[in-house]
């Protein structure tokens, strides 16, 4: 009888132990990176993080020079919002799975305020010296440097040179030419990023800014949101969607879907980032290699150009087991000319100013030189994520005819007011 009791307690004990072991849990990322040795893991997303992508080449370059602290890429999803979610889950749990964080420029404030990053103040000088000012600013929050700029980004207007003589400079012209040519060729006039995600926010803001709108004043203490201008932008999008200026499926497209459509010859114009240039010029993959060109994004007035400033910065996770090596890596990737040249050659805009001088003959670099000075940052405030989600929830249904545009822009304005309080 006592034996039976003992058996019972042993079972309960074993079961409890099992559960306890389950709870203490190991993160799936523990296998290689982080613990013990000098291995680093670099959590970054997008097509450049895929095998064969330029981030992989950069990692290989580092590994050749630093066999003691090799880095491996932890590939995140393509959608920036999902990348942020993956990182925030890891960081919120204070897990050490990611040593280096490939951060979209808009996350700096949030990550810094949450205490997820190691400060880079002590290496500020060497980074600031070689970096273009806009990109440098995007890695700071309240005056402190939290990340090392890695690549910058700006939107381009891609157009088919075999179908259009000259790049239009106003949106009205793009619509007019696009509709006309598209009808003749039986293809779509325009593709871009229209799905309900951060990319749509960027596309919307480029219309809004292009019509003269602003979100905040310089130090983000005052809301400058203009319902009239926002309404104009939303109505432009709704009209474009309704009339078929936006390709069928525009409202489900991310960067890669729009690239796929454009490079298989199914669209006249495209709004996309510079990375497409190299890929669309590749004859093996693209049906329009040699038949397209790039131009600054149009505005509504035809004056100047407006683009959202994008890009990625590398930061050191506050929970890294190997912060010293991680810091060395982020500084190296930001200040090594060879790395930055490699990015430039892959049509990923570098943040190092000297590269632009060296690659002057490159059409992408040349256009970036024109566009970047006017590119507008989305405020990298800790609340940016909430603002972006609000814009997605209001503007997306509005431009798809599912919600009253007036109500939508007012809701965004109200949320912006709320966000600075």
């Amino acid at each position: 009888m006592r034996a039976r009791q003992r058996w019972l307690f042993a079972t309960i004990l074993a079961a409890t132990a099992l559960v306890a072991a389950g709870c203490s849990g190991t993160s799936p990322d523990d296998e290689g990176g982080g613990d013990g040795g000098g291995e680093l893991s670099w959590a970054i997303g997008g097509s450049e993080a895929a095998p064969g992508g330029v981030h992989r080449e950069v990692a290989e370059m580092w590994n050749e020079e630093n066999p003691d602290n090799p880095i491996s890429i932890e590939r995140l999803p393509d959608d920036a919002g999902e990348q942020r979610q993956q990182q925030s889950l890891e960081l919120n749990a204070q897990e050490s799975g990611f040593d280096v964080l490939g951060m979209d420029v808009i996350w700096t404030g949030e990550y810094a305020v949450n205490g997820w990053l190691e400060s880079l103040e002590d290496v500020r000088g060497e980074i600031e010296e070689v970096t273009i000012p806009g990109a440098f600013l995007s890695a700071t929050w309240e005056g402190e440097l939290w990340a090392a700029p890695y690549n910058s980004n700006a939107g381009f207007l891609y157009y088919r040179t075999d179908l259009v003589d000259e790049a239009p400079t106003t949106w009205d012209e793009v619509v007019q030419v696009g509709m006309e040519v598209a009808e003749q060729e039986n293809i779509a006039p325009f593709v871009g990023q229209g799905a309900q995600y951060e990319g749509m926010v960027v596309n919307f803001l480029e219309y809004y800014w292009g019509a003269g709108g602003e979100m905040f004043n310089e130090d983000a203490s005052e809301v400058l949101w203009d319902n009239e201008i926002a309404l104009e932008a939303v109505e432009f999008m709704a009209e474009a969607n309704e009339s078929g200026f936006y390709a069928s499926g525009f409202n489900t497209f991310l960067e890669e879907e729009s690239r796929n459509e454009f490079q298989s010859g199914k669209a006249v114009f495209m709004r996309n980032w510079p990375y497409v240039y190299g890929l669309a010029s590749d004859k093996a993959e693209s049906e329009i290699a040699g038949d397209f060109d790039i131009a600054p994004l149009p505005t509504f007035t035809g004056e100047g150009t407006i683009s959202a400033l994008g890009g990625f910065n590398n930061a050191v996770s506050a929970f890294s087991d190997n912060p010293e090596a991680a810091k060395e890596f982020v500084v190296w990737a930001s200040t090594n000319e060879e790395v930055q040249m490699l990015l430039g050659e892959s049509s990923l805009p570098p943040t190092m100013s000297s590269v632009y001088e060296n690659l002057q003959d490159d059409p992408v670099m040349k256009l970036l030189g024109e566009v970047l000075p006017d590119a507008k940052p989305r405020p990298p405030a800790p609340t940016w994520n909430d603002i972006s989600v609000t814009i997605q929830q209001e503007i997306f249904p509005a431009y798809n005819g599912e919600k009253d545009p007036q109500e939508a822009v007012e809701a965004v304005g109200a949320f912006l007011e709320e966000s600075i309080q």
Binding site: Q5, L8, N92, N114, A195, F250, N251, V389
Partner: protein, 304 residues
Amino acid sequence: MSATTVAERAPTVGGKKSLSDSALARFFLSPSVLVMALVAAFPIFYAIILSLYVYQGRLREGFGGLENYTEALSSSRFWDAVQATFIFTVSSVSAEFLIGLGFALIMRQVFIGRGITRASILVPWVIPTVIAAQLWYFMFSVTPGFVNYALGLDRFNWLGQPGWAMFSIVFADVWKTAPFVALLLLAGLQTIPDEMYESARVDGATTWQRFWYITMPLLKPAILVALLFRTIDALRVFDLPQVMTGGSFNTESLSILVQRYVVQTPNPGLGSALSTLTFIIVLIIGVLFVRALGRDFVLNVEDE
């Protein structure tokens, strides 16, 4: 809880010469009850506790009572999600049931290649849901547009308009889980003795009469089990809408809404309130099913 009960009772029971069958069964079950309590009950109660606090972002501001629940229940987004979840559940479960029943009846017939037929019908069910979702996203998406190509449609925007977006998700779910329903129903079909069909045939019953008066009544328990599993599963749907539409065009399910408030724009209080509400909805429907199931078993016993 159960640990202390066992500890208190064990000595007195141990004093007797032998344990009754049910007491022994309880002993043997107690470890699993304990594990269940830790794994299942703890998160539920923890979520309920979290849902009573008010948060600003990730920071707790204080006790709020039912504030999160009033906020959830008064937001149109919650009711939209409830509606979307129910539309998805009703349409996917009924389609899966009809198709699954058809599959099961086919698989029951003895013919050449039975093994291969069964195996191939089950293939979709073996594929992980996220992968199936990604696959169907590519199929329905305008680019590259396999579905449009197969149907000879030019550039139909399946995922980018209300109604069709939900249709695509339901379609993918039916493709994936009808085999599972078929498997459950097949198991039920195989318990029906062939003699019953034979004697019915002798009595001159038509195929339809044999199906309606023999197959259906005897299959009822299996049907209810299949419907219970599928309904509960469908009410918690996350992967398919998340991957295929991201919740746009009225496809935001309750689970997606919960994920939004737990991960995307974190608010642990509201997120927990929403997940508790989801839990309650699923629980109520589950209880209703189990009741129907239990009564049916009782009725069957009486009939015999």
